[in-house]
Amino acid sequence: MKMKFHNSVLVATFFAATWFAATIVRAQQNAAGHASDFSSAEYYDAPHAQQMKSRISGAEASPQPGGLLDIKKLKLEEFGVDGRLEAVAEAPECVYDSMNGLANSPDHLQMQTGDGNLSVEGEGFLWRQTNHWLTISNHVQTVIKGVMESKTGL
């Protein structure tokens, strides 16, 4: 009888430990699925293979069905071969298809060139990472500073 008691304690302890371990694993999976400080970069071909061409980043990235990522506080950056920032675009949120290199959102997007001479904003966008093509779908507003001036004034 005493032996049976010990066995039942052992079995209960085993199941408790198993449940506890499973809980820990699940928590780790949740933590791994909801990443913070997401970033994905693309580099130039040789001989500039060390130079970043574009980077998509976000404060948070959550996996969605179909291999998609829901990115919060999106930031898209384009760099020249010399490392100079050519353009940066920001949006509060987007869905990123890393397999096809597509990012899209119905949200507001702001973009600015590296020299600050051109700024654009609009509603809804699609970013094609493969050919570095950004489409803004609605209400596009652009401001260009200083690049249309002529020596003679007008």
Binding site: S54, E78, R84, E86, A87, M111, T113, G114, D115, N117, L118, V120, G122, N131, H132, W133, L134, T135, I136, S137, N138, H139, V140, Q141, T142, V143, I144, K145, G146, V147, M148, E149, S150, K151, T152, G153, L154
Partner: protein, 218 residues
């Protein structure tokens, strides 16, 4: 000995500061400071700079482009605006269905713009005269060759320019923004000036090459 060096140093420093102030304010040509006057005499070997012109609000104001949608080719450095395109600059207003802008390198000048389909331009010249331009396509180019700047705007597709001098139409109208000159290829019609009949003090607009300067559009 140290005091002498200190005094000499302070004198030199004071003169340098005063000269710097004089260069900035030399156009006022009024100074009660003896050192400044002497230094001003020294610096008058070079021509005095022209009085600084107040920045023209026309050239400093930004250009705004609104449209229904737009594509930005980051590789090709090109922006393509689609649908109800409206360009608003201090010098002119432009509307069209599609506008393509070749984006310049950082800090550069825009070198190529194409406005297509139902292009309407309303520009005001330096004298306040209005110019109403319509065409199917307007192409702006910016080129600097041998220190000469050319900024031709080529209007094609039934181009028409209406201003106080009359109405110009041609197969092609080229308007150089840098010089203000206009050329017309095969002008179809040069209408009478938009003034009262009988008024003789208004010249009709010339046609063909070497026309008198016209207001600049962009």
């Amino acid at each position: 000995m140290k005091k002498i060096y200190l005094i000499a140093f302070l004198a030199l420093a004071g003169a340098w500061i005063v000269r710097g102030q004089t260069n900035v304010a030399s156009t006022n040509a009024v100074s009660t400071n003896t050192v400044a006057e002497i230094l001003a005499l020294v610096t008058t070997n070079t021509p005095a700079p022209a009085p600084p012109q107040p920045p023209s609000p026309k050239t400093n104001a930004p250009t705004k482009i609104d449209s229904d949608s737009a594509d930005f080719d980051m590789n090709g450095h090109q922006a393509i605006y689609h649908g109800n395109v409206r360009v608003d600059s201090p010098q002119m207003k432009l509307t069209c269905a599609q506008l393509t802008v070749n984006l310049p390198p950082a800090g550069g000048h825009i070198q190529h713009i194409v406005a297509e389909t139902n292009v309407v331009i309303d520009a005001t010249d330096e004298k306040g005269g209005t110019n109403h331009v319509t065409c199917d396509k307007a192409v702006y180019d910016y080129k600097v060759q041998e220190s000469m700047t050319n900024e031709p705007i080529t209007l094609t597709g039934n181009p028409q320019v209406v201003n106080a001098q009359g109405t110009n139409t041609a197969d092609e109208i080229i308007w150089d923004r840098a010089t203000g000159h206009v050329w017309e290829k095969n002008p179809h019609m040069v209408s009478s000036p938009n003034v009262d009949i009988g008024k003789t003090d208004t010249n009709s607009p010339a046609s063909g090459a070497n026309n008198p300067p016209m207001p600049k559009l962009f």
